[in-house]
Every structure is written in structure tokens, then in C-alpha cells.
């Protein structure tokens, strides 16, 4: 069983998706436990994969014992082993918290929800673990289609937002497919490792150039990199709470992972940096994303929409790290993949909890919230501090490496963008925190008796993942040095 863990990571959620459907028809209450079991198993398998990679090096798993480049291969190295653990952990946390959220928001559709939820996670895990270009397309579409469906059952405005997402997403996936096609025509191979060996001889070819361009645009669409982010705010705002909590931390990060793979593993770094100034372009788009995301977030009064724009900015950070194309920048980017996943998990779950208890997401409605939901709001403060980048939360450490990388590359504009965005984030979060914690009084009222507001914290199944995420933000920050020296140092693509 154990040597099969790479396959299990993906296959278990897939099979359990159908089991959830079957058992769910029999009795609705079964689908939740089945989901939890599936994701726990998957999480354990991914930990085993990462452990194996750390101790014995890259895993090459041949599906059906067909050798590449004819068979499909799952490759787990430090980079995707790391991301596998993150994806399975975050999905498990969201699944645990989804029980109450789904009961409240989608009571008749529980069974179908969990089925598609599991398929979505299958898609993500498959994208991360596969070593075959076309296989990645398949999983990409599995994830995307599940995503369109999950988003469409949200609140008012969700179907339309999902339709828009569908259009954009399909263009992105089709561009990716075109890229794969062009590469196949030129090289005859679909296997990533194989391609990385065959391609260098062909770098002067125009076909490769077009393929590369298609890849970049397609993946940028999926990753919501400015200016191709347009689908994201609407889609994530109107989606059901559990869905945005699942998609926000993961979809964009998995997209970023694909970009790193294509830029640095399939194509050599020197291709992406010197032959075609892809990383330079990426850097500028990223800088735009960071500023644009923060500025537009300022204009929102709906907290969830504000978070969606902040997410656009966070994607910008990761893309900036990739665009800097040096060791520190890439370390910052990979570290930020982890940090952002945990931060967005915390933030979107918190919004879910607030919606669950009060049904209102506007900033002014948050008054007294720190008394009604003390633990949730405390975690909101911690998550906010992390987005701003205040030590010792994890967000600070990824910013540290990103700024280091920008200085190494002598890109002072990016340094300024990174630092200014911290200040913009301060305004964003303190608006919320002020409203939630401080209650303006007209004159100095010194009464020791406070407005009697009963504590109505989020239910335990929702609160626990929020607290875990909050604790994660703090501890992952302090442990950054350890994480980098044991995992990320090797995850940064060779050549840096």
C-alpha cells in the first residue's frame, strides 16, 4: 500500500467521490464523514510522499507500470511534495468546517456538494502530482469544471459569475492544450522530464515560442494574474462560503505551481529569463497585480469582495517572486504559496463564520463583533497582520525574501511596490479591525458596564479549522527558517 502513496493521494478522493454519491443517496448524513475520511487518507498519503522525498529523493511513480515517455508518470520532488501537503491539508480543513456552512447555505444539495468537492480536490492534487503535460490538462479541467459547478450554486449573482468564469477558464485551458499540442508536434513527447531534455536543442524554433506564449497566457488566466484576473472577484464573492474557502487558497496557488513548472522545469531557466524575457514581463504584471489588487480592495465595503481583491494582490506576490528569477525571489514565491494558502484559508473561513452568525458582510455591520465572536475576530487580526507583513506572522517572512530578491536583482521599483503594498494593506485591515473592536462613543463614557452582547461564537466544526489556521500563521512564521532549509532550498528549481 505504502509505495503506492503517490497514486493514492489522487485516487482516494476520486473513488470516494463516487462512494459519497452512492452512500449519500442511501442516507444524506453519510456524505460528510466519507469526505473527511477521504481527505484524511489523502493527507496522510501526501505526508508520506513528502517524507519519502525528503529522505530518499524524488519519487518517480509509473502509472500501470508503463514506463515514460509512453506511460503517464507521477513525479514527486521537493516542490510538489511540499505543495501536495499544503493542498491536502487545506482541503481537509475546509471539509471539516463545511458541515455547518453547507447545511445553512445549500441544504438540499449536500450530497452533490460533497461529491463535486471531492472531485475538485482530486483535480488539484492531480495537477500538482503529475509529471505528464496532457495529464495535467485533464486534471486542470476536472478541477475547473468542478469549480464552475460549485460556484454556480452560490448566492444571488453566482450563476452569472460562474458563467463568466467558465468562459475565461475555458479559454485558459484551451490555450494550455494548444501549447501542449505545439510541443508535441515538435518533440513527440508529453512527459515533462523528457521534454526538458529534448527541448534545449530546439530553443530557436518559432513553434516553441508560440507554445510558450500560449502556456503563459493560459496559466495566467487560471491563476488570475493581473490583467487576466477579471473573473475572480465576482466568482469568489458570490460562491458559497465553503467553496470560496476551498478555491481561494488553492486554485490560484496550483496555477502558480504550474507556471513555475513550465517556466523552470520544462523549459530551462535560461530560456525563460534570457532568451525570452518572460520573467521580466511576469514581474511587471505582478507589480500591477499587487498595486491594483490593494487599491481596488480599498473601494469595497463587502468584506468578502475585499478579500477577493486582496487575493489578486497575493497572486501578484508569488508571480513577482517568480519574475525576479533569483534564489531569494523564488524562495519567497514558494514560501508565499504556503503562507498565502494558510492566510486565505483563515480569512475565508472567518468570513464564512461571520456570514453564518450574522448574515451580513458589510464592514459597518461588524460592530460588536469582537464580543460576539472573540476567537474568530482574534484570528482575523492575526491573519490581517500576516497579510500586512508584520512579524512574527508568516506573511512577514515571505515579504522578507521577496524584498531580498528584488534588491538582489536591482529592481528598486519592485522593492517600493512591495513596501507600499504593506501600507495599503494596513489601511484595508485596520478599517475592518477598527469597526470590529472599537465602538465609537460621542463623549467620554467611563461606564464599566458594557453593552450586553451574548457570545455567539462560530460552531466548533467551523471554529476549530479557523483556530488551526491562525495558529499556523503564527507558527509557520517562526518556523520559516526550518522550512526553507529543509524543503524549499531543494524545491527551488535547479540553476539558481
Amino acid at each position: 500500500m505504502v509505495p503506492q502513496s503517490p497514486a493514492l493521494v489522487v485516487v482516494v478522493p476520486l473513488i470516494f467521490a463516487f462512494l459519497s454519491l452512492l452512500f449519500g443517496w442511501w442516507r444524506k448524513a453519510f456524505s460528510y464523514p466519507i469526505t473527511i475520511i477521504a481527505l484524511s487518507l489523502s493527507f496522510l498519503a501526501s505526508i508520506h510522499c513528502l517524507y519519502t522525498v525528503l529522505t530518499s529523493g524524488t519519487i518517480h511513480y509509473y502509472l500501470g507500470k508503463w514506463e515514460p515517455p509512453w506511460g503517464i508518470e507521477y513525479v514527486v520532488d521537493h516542490l510538489n511534495g511540499f505543495i501536495l501537503v499544503i493542498v491536502s491539508f487545506v482541503s481537509l480543513m475546509v471539509a471539516i468546517s463545511s458541515k455547518r456552512l453547507v447545511e445553512r447555505e445549500l441544504p438540499e444539495k449536500v450530497v452533490y456538494f460533497y461529491t463535486i468537492f471531492l472531485l475538485q480536490v482530486t483535480g488539484f492534487l492531480g495537477i500538482v502530482i503529475t509529471g505528464d503535460m496532457f495529464n495535467l490538462y485533464v486534471f486542470l479541467e476536472i478541477a475547473s469544471l468542478a469549480g464552475y459547478a460549485l460556484i454556480a450554486v452560490g448566492e444571488e449573482g453566482a450563476p452569472f459569475a460562474s458563467f463568466n468564469y467558465l468562459i475565461f477558464g475555458t479559454i485558459g485551458a484551451c490555450f494550455y492544450l494548444l501549447g501542449v499540442g505545439y510541443l508535441y508536434i515538435k518533440t513527440g513527447s508529453l512527459n515533462m522530464a523528457d521534454l526538458s531534455e529534448i527541448l534545449p536543442a530546439l530553443y530557436q524554433s518559432k513553434v516553441l515560442l508560440v507554445a510558450f506564449a500560449f502556456f503563459l497566457v493560459g496559466v495566467s488566466l487560471k491563476m488570475a494574474l493581473f490583467p487576466l484576473h477579471v473573473w475572480l472577484p465576482d466568482a469568489y464573492t458570490y460562491a458559497p462560503s465553503a467553496v470560496s474557502a476551498l478555491l481561494a487558497p488553492l486554485m490560484t496557488k496550483v496555477g502558480a505551481y504550474v507556471m513555475i513548472r513550465i517556466l523552470f522545469t520544462v523549459f530551462e531557466p535560461r530560456f525563460s529569463i534570457e532568451l525570452i524575457p518572460a520573467t521580466t514581463i511576469l514581474g511587471w504584471m505582478a507589480a500591477g497585480a499587487i498595486l491594483f489588487g490593494a487599491l481596488l480592495a480599498l473601494a469595497q465595503s463587502d468584506v468578502k469582495r475585499m478579500l477577493a481583491y486582496i487575493l489578486v494582490g497575493e497572486v501578484g506576490y508569488i508571480a513577482l517572486g517568480v519574475g525576479l528569477a533569483n534564489r531569494n525571489g523564488l524562495t519567497g514565491a514558494v514560501l508565499h504559496i504556503m503562507n498565502d494558502a494558510v492566510m486565505m484559508l483563515a480569512l475565508f473561513l472567518i468570513i464564512g463564520a461571520i456570514m453564518y452568525r450574522s448574515g451580513n458582510r458589510e464592514i459597518p455591520s461588524l460592530r460588536h463583533m469582537h464580543r460576539r465572536m472573540p476567537f474568530t475576530m482574534a484570528t482575523l487580526v492575526i491573519a490581517g497582520l500576516s497579510v500586512i507583513g508584520i512579524p512574527p506572522t508568516c506573511g512577514f517572512f515571505s515579504k522578507w525574501y521577496l524584498v531580498l530578491g528584488a534588491i538582489d536583482a536591482n529592481k528598486w521599483v519592485f522593492v517600493a511596490v512591495l513596501l507600499i503594498s504593506s501600507l495599503l494593506n494596513v489601511i484595508l485591515f485596520f478599517r475592518v479591525i477598527e469597526n470590529a473592536y472599537l465602538e465609537p462613543r460621542e463623549e467620554e463614557a467611563h461606564e464599566g458596564v458594557e453593552v450586553a452582547v451574548p457570545i455567539e461564537e462560530a460552531p466548533l466544526s467551523l471554529l476549530l479549522p479557523i483556530l488551526v489556521a491562525g495558529a499556523g500563521i503564527l507558527s509557520l512564521g517562526i518556523l520559516s527558517g526550518e522550512i526553507i532549509s529543509s524543503v524549499i532550498r531543494f524545491a527551488v528549481p535547479a540553476g539558481f
Partner: protein, 497 residues
């Protein structure tokens, strides 16, 4: 310089952190228990700090590494003389402030008391972390924690003004934080390390232009908390906070942390040799001197007692920076010692302001005529503190001002001697009338001509701090060789050249 591994610095930081959690969980259910945690934590912390003195006096440094954060930089405590000095100051004054706070908060029946004490404890943890930090990154981490945990205290009253005050505070300090971060990362790219070394470690790295640029932004960044003009604006506005907050934080913890940061930059990162090479010391000294004079003039113009004290604080902070900038042995000694003596004296003055407010709800100096009859202990302490700040013997302020004056002569810049004299004259000008009016003028109608002090919980601490100021003035080395620690630090810095 020997280093010893010891967990004491970590414990000193953790004590108040655990205390803060206990305060949070005890909450409103049992106020006395909650206050007990505060006092217990403060006493434990002070004892821990005291226990480190013998080692440091013998020239050892106490070190404790928690975890590696980046190549060459760890989350690390290293207690040297300068750090220990600040630690003693902060932890000693915290005991006094805790008692005082309890009296103040209960006397006014304040709202959100648990939040108040929780944040208070967090601030002290952060201050200890700053004092004992062994490198720039550790210092920065705790510096930012200090900013975040003081914000709820500044905005505590939750009135329109308090919220605006809080916002301004955040705007200034977080922007400064970003600037400092940029500086720190830059230093890291230049040298690959961030550890403090007496005498500095930047010598020989980077071009002159880079060094000058770095110095400017780092001093400006730390200078916000140290209230160097023109970055001082947040401090008078932050006086909207409850008085114990103003007392501890804005006379001791926050602003002293800023000055501490500045001094670390001047003496332990850049160092006398580098600064002499580029003549940066003179520029900084003039800059600080400007603040000294102008803030003194501003103080004269204030009628609100706390605001006048705020400007006096700004005045003294720049005196400390000016002294350090002069880079001569007596100046550095005087500067470090002034951190301590000013702390004790200023906290006395703020305690007095708070006691007056709780008892009589008066905030302005013009209302204070004759109040010395009603509150002789309080105003007596005020007199001691105020005269000490002006530099009158035998209060401790005299000792620090004496050394600073010597330092100016040693540095062969007589200008600064005059600056010190002028500032002393201004001090007398804005403090003496208060003392005179309160004791010798006829009491206003609402003043009780008989002995009617504020609650003992408030009066006892302020009498104690005033007495300490007096004792330190007479015997600077009382209390565990307080003065020696400062002079040892100065020697190490200059000896490390």
C-alpha cells in the same frame, strides 16, 4: 567578550506573555485575580532581569538562540550592558505602573479593563524582546509587536479623538516600520549578518553614498518612535490615551524603544569610527539639537498638562540622541544614563498628571492654582521630578546632564553645551510656574484646601519613583550598580574600535 548561554532573557519575555494570556482568561470574572497576574508577572520579570546583572557586570553576555530565521540571522537574544540597562528600566517602572494603573482604572471605572491589562502585558513582553534582542531582525520583530499591542491602548477611550489618535499613531509607526525593514534588508544584503557589535559592523561595507542613505533611513525610521522632529507629531496626539498608558509607554516603553533603536543603530551597527569617517555624527547631533530647542519652546505654549509633558519628553529624547551622536565617552555614558533617569523622573510627572485628573478631573495647568494644598505629596513629587529634568542637583537628572555636558566638551563642540544650557533654562521656564502656582497661589474655588490626595494606589507609586530619582541623584550606583552598567556599555562601544 564572553558569551554564556542562558534561558533568562527568553523567560523574561515569556513571563508577561503568559501573564497576558492569564489576564485574558481571567477576564472580568475576578478582577482581583486578574490584577494579581499583572503584579505577579511584573515582579517575576524584574527579578529575572536583576538576576542577570551580576553576569553582565562581569563582562559576560547572556545569549539564547531560539531558531534560525534566514542564513546568518537567527531569532536570538543577547543581553549586553546596554540591553540590560533598558531591561532594568522597563521592568522596574512596570511594577510601579501596574500598581498605578490598577488605581487609575478602578478610580475612573474604565471600560474594557481586561483588554487594557492584556495589551499592557503584551507591550512589556515586546519591550523586553527589544531590550534583549541580539540582532536587528529580532529587534524589528519585537518592535512591530510593540506597535501593534500599543494601538488598542492609545485608542482605548474609543472617542472620535481617540480613534483618530490611534490612526495617526499607526500611520506614523507602521510607515516607519516599513522604512526600517527596507534598511534592515539592505544592511543584510551588504554584510550578510545583522548581529549587534559594540562599535558597529558596517565599517568597510558599501560605498559612502550607500552608508549615508542607509543611516538616514534607519535613523528616520527609528526616529519616528523616538519622536525626533519633524516626525514627532504622533506623540502629543497620543496623549489622548489614559494616563498610565502615556506614562509607561510614552515616557518609557515606546519612546525609549525608539531611542534604544536609534542608539543601537548609531553605536552597534554603524559605530563611532564609521560615523566619524563620514562626519555623520555632527549632522545627527545638529538635527537632534534642533528638536531639543524647538520642543522646549513648544512646551512653553501648552496649557494642557499632559501635552506640556509630551513636549518635554520629545525634548529629552532628542537630548539622548544628541548625546549618543557626540560619540565621546562621557556623552555616551550620559546619554544611556539619561534614558534611565529621565524614565524615572518623567513617569513621576505623568503619574502626577493622572492622579490630579482622577481626583479632580482637571487637565489644564491654568486650573492647578493652589492644588499643592490639597495634594502636597503629589505636587511634592512633581517638584522633584520637574527640577530633576531641568538638571537640578541632587536629583538624577543632574548626573546625566553633567555627563552630557562633559561629553560635549570632550567632543570639542561647545555648541552643544550651550544647547544643553538653553534647554535647561526652558525646562525651568515651563516647569517652575506649575510648582509655584500649585503651592503658592491662592486655590481656585473648586480646590479643597485640606489634605485630599488621590487613592493610595496612585500616590504611593509616584512617591516611590520620585524618591528613586532622588536616590539615584545622590548615589548613581545605588540599585545594583545602575550607573556602572551604563558606563561599561560606553566603554565597550568605544573600546571596540
Amino acid at each position: 567578550m564572553e558569551t554564556m548561554v542562558s534561558i533568562r532573557p527568553l523567560l523574561a519575555v515569556l513571563v508577561t506573555l503568559i501573564g497576558a494570556m492569564l489576564i485574558l482568561f481571567t477576564g472580568e470574572r475576578n478582577r482581583n485575580l486578574r490584577e494579581f497576574w499583572t503584579i505577579l508577572a511584573s515582579v517575576l520579570k524584574f527579578s529575572l532581569v536583576l538576576s542577570m546583572i551580576p553576569f553582565v557586570l562581569r563582562g559576560k553576555m547572556l545569549e539564547f538562540t531560539i531558531i534560525q530565521l534566514a542564513p546568518g540571522v537567527a531569532l536570538q537574544f543577547r543581553v549586553d550592558q546596554f540591553g540590560l540597562f533598558f531591561g532594568i528600566l522597563a521592568s522596574a517602572l512596570w511594577i510601579a505602573t501596574s500598581v498605578y494603573s490598577i488605581g487609575y482604572v478602578r478610580g475612573l471605572n474604565e471600560h474594557a479593563q481586561t483588554r487594557y491589562f492584556f495589551n499592557f502585558a503584551l507591550c512589556l513582553s515586546a519591550t523586553m524582546g527589544i531590550a534583549f534582542a541580539g540582532n536587528l531582525l529580532t529587534l524589528f520583530i519585537f518592535y512591530e509587536i510593540l506597535t501593534v499591542s500599543t494601538y488598542p491602548l492609545v485608542a482605548h477611550k474609543e472617542t472620535e479623538d481617540a480613534i483618530m489618535g490611534g490612526r495617526k499613531y499607526l500611520a506614523y509607526t507602521l510607515t516607519a516600520g516599513v522604512v526600517i525593514l527596507f534598511g534592515i534588508i539592505f544592511v543584510y544584503t551588504l554584510t550578510g549578518t545583522l548581529d549587534f557589535k559594540p562599535g558597529g559592523f558596517l565599517l568597510g561595507h558599501g560605498s559612502s553614498a550607500t552608508i549615508i542613505f542607509l543611516f538616514a533611513i534607519l535613523i528616520l525610521g527609528f526616529g519616528v518612535k523616538a519622536a525626533i522632529m519633524p516626525l514627532h507629531e504622533w506623540l502629543p496626539t497620543a496623549m489622548i490615551a489614559p494616563t498610565p498608558v502615556s506614562a509607561l509607554l510614552h515616557a518609557v516603553a515606546v519612546v525609549k524603544a525608539g531611542v534604544f533603536g536609534c542608539l543601537r543603530i548609531i553605536l552597534y551597527v554603524f559605530g563611532p569610527e564609521l560615523l566619524h569617517q563620514l562626519d555623520l555624527w555632527l549632522i545627527l547631533a545638529y538635527f537632534a539639537a534642533f528638536t531639543v530647542i524647538v520642543s522646549g519652546l513648544y512646551a512653553l505654549a501648552q496649557d494642557n498638562l499632559k501635552r506640556r509633558l509630551a513636549f518635554s519628553t520629545i525634548n529629552n529624547l532628542s537630548i539622548i540622541v544628541m548625546g549618543a551622536a557626540l560619540l565621546s565617552p562621557s556623552a555616551i555614558t550620559g546619554s544611556i544614563f539619561h534614558m534611565g533617569s529621565h524614565g524615572f523622573m518623567k513617569i513621576t510627572l505623568f503619574f502626577v498628571a493622572g492622579a490630579i485628573y482622577v481626583k479632580t478631573h482637571k487637565e489644564n495647568i491654568s486650573q492647578l492654582d493652589g492644588i499643592g494644598r490639597q495634594m502636597p505629596l503629589t505636587m511634592g513629587a512633581f517638584a522633584i521630578g520637574a527640577m530633576g529634568i531641568a538638571g537640578t542637583p541632587p536629583i538624577c537628572g543632574f548626573i546625566s546632564k553633567w555627563y552630557l555636558a562633559m561629553g560635549a566638551l570632550e567632543a570639542k563642540e561647545v555648541v552643544f553645551l550651550f544647547v544643553l544650557l538653553i534647554s535647561a533654562l526652558l525646562d525651568v521656564a515651563y516647569f517652575f510656574p506649575i510648582i509655584y502656582n500649585s503651592f503658592f497661589k491662592a486655590p481656585k474655588e473648586d480646590v479643597n484646601p485640606h489634605f485630599d490626595e488621590a487613592s493610595m494606589k496612585m500616590v504611593v507609586p509616584l512617591v516611590i519613583t520620585a524618591t528613586i530619582s532622588l536616590i539615584l541623584g545622590l548615589v548613581p550606583n545605588a540599585f545594583f550598580r545602575f550607573f556602572n552598567i551604563a558606563s561599561m556599555a560606553a566603554e565597550k562601544i568605544l573600546g571596540g574600535m
